[in-house]
Symmetry: C2
Subunit: 255 residues, 2 copies
């Protein structure tokens, strides 16, 4: 039974793409057949897995606008059990193009039906906004994973995000759950990081993953080599952390 | 002759607010009468200077919608030569409210006329988007300062930002210049940071400030104390860097 997880936070630069790429890579390395879907016109997940974005023939844009079948957009990656549907700047126009389509919030959910049972996990990387693309991701998913940066303003915008998830739950996708909150870019050398993690745990308790992703330069470097960190630098603290997170996600799924 | 500078980058979390708060504080500490205008509904610059956002009687929202005079919204701060016009969530509705106002891109520029000659510098903190608020900021300013994070994706979205600045120059504000590009969150211990700075300098040369802002936990902690770093931890590397930047900005102005 496939588990579909949207990685979402309308704040920029909090680690959505780094989590999407490295959690999906780690799940695949642990033997779980995984599909990663890039839905950000910036296409960072796509280039982070080594693809040249503007050279892709079929991307999520062509899938959503019906210009190709979803199977035609699925790409193999350097990891056997990891597939990708890529994104590039063409997607930027999609919000406007799809705004008058009936059931416009259900397009991704419907397109996914054909292929979702080929996978154990489908992860969706969201852009930093709460527009039609992100709503499609939330409607298509079983749960959401929210990365939060270990910074003073980590919880800023959280209530707006939770309101959006609640509205989608109420009106469009009653099954949508909170998979978990992931603390990212934890800086061991500072008190600030610890304080932020404590504060977030005090609000969200069990929902906050035990695994915390450390600030690790290998995570910043890996995209420039077009590789997930588990291939680029498997013994790095960042690689180990995402493998631990993958095990935690798998364990949740088995409860 | 006042210099009006918008701090802009549609990417989130790149250091706009940290730069707005600490550059304006440093200019004031160096004796330049400075007004900082927060135009982000998140109000991070406002709370970063110690104000309780939702308790403010008059903010930039009331100014733009004509509900108060601009003088009524100007606040004193802990630094004698630094004033603030604050922002809070009320501003979130402004884009919709002002969309049908004639000359809607010139509202801030016109409101500023009354007070701008009381200052040597006016700095404007922008939200992470290229909407009506940011356009108002660009139209109201003489120049733009673009913070770029020392990360692999630093230049992502840069062409879109430069296109927007170019369009504003062409159609709305022919005097608008690029003040400079500021590399932020530089991590001395990594090669990645150095490579990103070199790459940006290779594209933009002289336009990149000599001053690079280091990653410094004091810069992350200061907002939680409602102080600019030059008051919170004046000997910290982050405080020293923003003072150096202020001197560089002042020197530019005297060319
Ligand atoms: N734990 C980490 N250690 C070091 N660098 C990191 C870490 N996590 C993310 N980064 C770097 O921080 C930057 C922002 O991360 P990322 O792109 O994953 O955020 P995002 O939320 O997807 O941003 P956007 O909203 O722009 O899509 C990237 O350059 C990334 O390589
Ligand atoms: N040089 C630095 N060293 C350490 N932390 C920093 C540094 N610069 C910024 N930060 C922290 O990084 C986070 C993002 O910075 P900031 O809020 O200034 O970015 P921003 O571009 O204004 O973000 P937004 O787009 O959300 O408004 C903040 O928590 C800030 O305290
Ligand atoms: Mg991303
Ligand atoms: Mg900001």
């Amino acid at each position: 039974m496939v588990k579909k997880i949207t990685i979402v936070n309308q704040k920029g630069g909090v680690g959505k793409t780094t989590t999407a790429v490295n959690l999906s890579a780690s799940l695949a390395v642990l033997g779980k057949k995984t599909l990663l879907i890039d839905t950000d016109p910036q296409g960072n997940a796509t280039s982070g897995l080594g693809f040249v974005k503007h050279e892709l023939k079929f991307t999520i844009y062509e899938v959503l606008t019906g210009q190709c079948d979803i199977e035609e957009a699925i790409l193999n990656t350097d990891i056997e059990d990891l597939h990708l549907i890529g994104a590039n700047v063409n997607l930027a126009g999609a919000t406007v193009e799809l705004v008058d389509v009936p059931d416009r919030e259900f397009i991704l959910k419907n397109k996914l039906r054909k292929v979702e049972d080929d996978y154990e996990y489908i992860l969706i990387d969201s852009p930093p906004s709460l527009g039609l693309i992100t709503i499609n991701n939330l409607v298509a998913s079983d749960s959401v994973l929210i990365p939060l940066q270990c910074e003073y303003y980590a919880l800023e915008g959280m209530s707006e995000l939770l309101d959006t998830i609640y509205l989608v739950q109420k009106n469009l996708n009653p099954h949508l759950k909170l998979e978990g909150i992931l603390m990212t870019m934890f800086d061991r050398r500072t008190n600030l990081s610890k304080q932020v993690v404590e504060e977030v745990r005090s609000y969200f308790g069990e929902k906050v993953y035990k695994t915390v992703i450390p600030r690790n330069v290998k995570l910043g470097e890996a995209p420039s080599f077009g590789k997930p960190v588990v291939l680029y630098a498997p013994s790095a603290s960042g690689a180990q952390a995402y493998l631990e997170l993958a095990k935690e996600v798998i364990a949740h799924g088995e409860e």
